[in-house]
């Protein structure tokens, strides 16, 4: 569905990504891991449309990706994904309002009631039905991320991009969020691309794990070589708990193979 062909990203003479060629299938859950500065977030921003590739082409279903962000690609960031001045319900409604009325960006009357029902149904799915009138500042980090996911999903995006979505959460909450995102992925038939620092998370959630790192290293000019995809692992989708341990073993294997993955947040 999403195709990257020989994509390069350069900032001035610093090469961040080089020779990225990928085909991402509809319905897959792709995890992207790699050390800090390997361009994981740059790759995500490319697909999001926030940045343009220096070379190469990115196409969605054969059509070249427009050079801006749009409603066909949803996103959840690690922080600042929700709007502090809107209630939970208002945050989810916002996407419907933007879409329906380009001039006032608001809905009235029966259109608003219909949108409200849709938004409430979405909140139900992420477990925030009882918090519809709260403001984000009154909620925990986990609840805010649930809201951010609901807010993105209401637009029915072709691709959902997650930029370290669970990186700032407690381990217990994180496990809940893993269950939630897996369920939503199955129920909605989503295509998800997730950047993460957590190798275990990458393997337990993803159907495919990409590892970004520099293939070559020039000690005199380290910035002249960019990162590429050094590992591209297809995982057959695991159904039960036993596969979680299998995933953990694979993660341990890849870590032992000498790839350094930092666990400290870098952005």
């Amino acid at each position: 569905m999403l195709t990257l062909r020989n994509v390069w990203v350069e900032y001035g003479d610093k090469v961040v990504l080089e020779r990225i060629s990928l085909d991402i299938a509809k319905g897959s859950f792709v995890s992207i891991i790699g050390p800090s500065g390997a361009g994981k977030s740059s790759l995500l921003r490319l697909i999001l449309g926030q940045e343009q590739p220096t070379r190469g082409r990115i196409s969605l279903d054969g059509a070249l990706l427009p050079e801006e962000c749009g409603p066909d690609r949803g996103v959840v960031f690690q922080r600042y994904s929700v709007f502090p001045h809107l209630t939970v319900l208002g945050n989810v409604l916002l996407g419907l309002e933007f879409g329906a009325s380009p001039f006032t960006a608001r809905l009235f009357g029966s259109a608003r009631r219909a949108a409200r029902a849709e938004a409430e149904a979405m909140l139900e799915q992420v477990g925030l039905a009882d918090s519809a009138q709260l403001y984000p500042a009154q909620m925990s980090g986990g609840m805010q991320q649930r809201l951010a996911i609901a807010q993105a999903l209401i637009k029915r995006p072709r691709i959902l991009l997650l930029d370290e979505p669970f990186g700032a959460l407690d381990p217990g909450i994180r496990a809940d969020m893993h269950t939630l995102i897996t369920r939503l992925w199955r129920e909605h038939g989503l295509t998800i691309i997730m950047v993460t620092h957590d190798i275990k998370e990458a393997f337990s959630l993803g159907t495919r794990v990409l590892t970004l790192d520099k293939r070559r290293h020039d000690p005199h000019a380290p910035h002249r070589y960019g990162a590429g995809v050094v590992y591209d692992l297809e995982l057959t989708r695991k159904q039960a708990v036993s596969d979680e341990t299998e995933a953990a073993e694979m993660a341990a294997g890849i870590a032992a193979a000498g790839i350094t993955i930092d666990t400290v947040g870098n952005n």
Binding site: R73, P84, E97, G99, P102, F103, K155
Partner: protein
């Protein structure tokens, strides 16, 4: 208990706050009484009774020349000028600040101009305003606008410009256009900051108002103070100063309350 962590209760905090004001009033009365003991005709530190008598004439009795109740006419004229000046400044801060803060090309184009205007001392422009607008109301209102609007514009634009980039990207992925981002993301988040900027501009606005009235006016709180100064009429000047302070406090309080009531989300972490 250390001083840095000692948190007085609400009622006690209020009492503590009133205490210095009472001490100040008491010190004044003692000093005034001492001066009057030496010279009963002293005009520099009038006793409260003399102030009340002088003010009663201005508050309750019409001026024989114009037929106006001078105190109320002064208050009304000054508040009108202040309100008009601050209103125009606030509106322009909202519109210009919003456009400047949200649209980087506009910021690049107009940002330096706003900065250049902001660094000119407004009082230095007063003669120009008098020449251009004449000695009427327009020049006084214009001085307030020129004085406070650039600060407010920069404050609001800076606040909007500092909103997390993620919010704009997120809005775009929700189907917004630039107008939608301004209307539903930037504008609501600018409002509490705008009220804060207005609150902080009250002080300078009063300075510009009194200055303009002192130089050329025929009515107004500042005009009255500078007029009666010629007669050393401290019994009018002091109550007028207290009245101005009172008006400023009430405005400040009203703005704080309005912001809390209208934009509760922005104060959620404050209590």
């Amino acid at each position: 208990m250390r001083w840095v962590t000692a948190q007085p209760q609400r009622s006690r905090g209020l009492m503590l706050g009133v205490l210095p004001l009472l001490v100040l009033a008491l010190a004044y009365i003692i000093a005034a009484a001492a001066r009057h003991a030496e010279n009963p005709a002293d005009k520099i530190l009038p006793l409260p009774g003399a102030m009340a008598a002088a003010m009663a004439g201005l508050v309750f009795e019409p001026d024989p020349l114009s037929g106006q109740y001078l105190f109320w006419a002064d208050t009304l004229a000054s508040l009108w000028r202040l309100g008009a000046g601050l209103g125009i400044a606030t509106l322009s801060a909202l519109v210009v600040g919003l456009v400047l803060g949200t649209l980087p090309p506009v910021r690049s184009t107009l940002g330096p101009l706003v900065t250049a205007i902001a660094v000119v001392p407004p009082i230095a422009l007063l003669p120009i305003l008098f020449i251009v607008f004449g000695l009427g109301e327009t020049a006084k209102v214009a001085l307030i606008v020129v004085g406070v609007a650039p600060f407010m514009i920069r404050d609001v634009a800076g606040h909007i410009g500092a909103l997390p980039r993620e919010q704009v990207i997120k809005a775009l992925t929700l189907g917004a256009n630039s107008w939608g981002v301004m209307l539903r993301v930037a504008l609501p988040q600018a409002m509490p900051r705008l009220i804060e900027a207005l609150r902080l501009s009250l002080g300078p606005a009063w300075v510009f108002l009194i200055s303009a009235e002192a130089i050329a006016a025929d009515v107004g709180l500042g005009y009255r103070i500078f007029l009666v100064r010629r007669y050393l009429a401290m019994d009018v000047i002091l109550p007028y100063v207290v009245w101005i302070a009172l008006l400023a406090v009430v405005m400040d309080f009203a703005l704080t309350q309005a912001s809390r009531r209208l934009f509760g989300w922005a104060h959620a972490g404050a209590h």
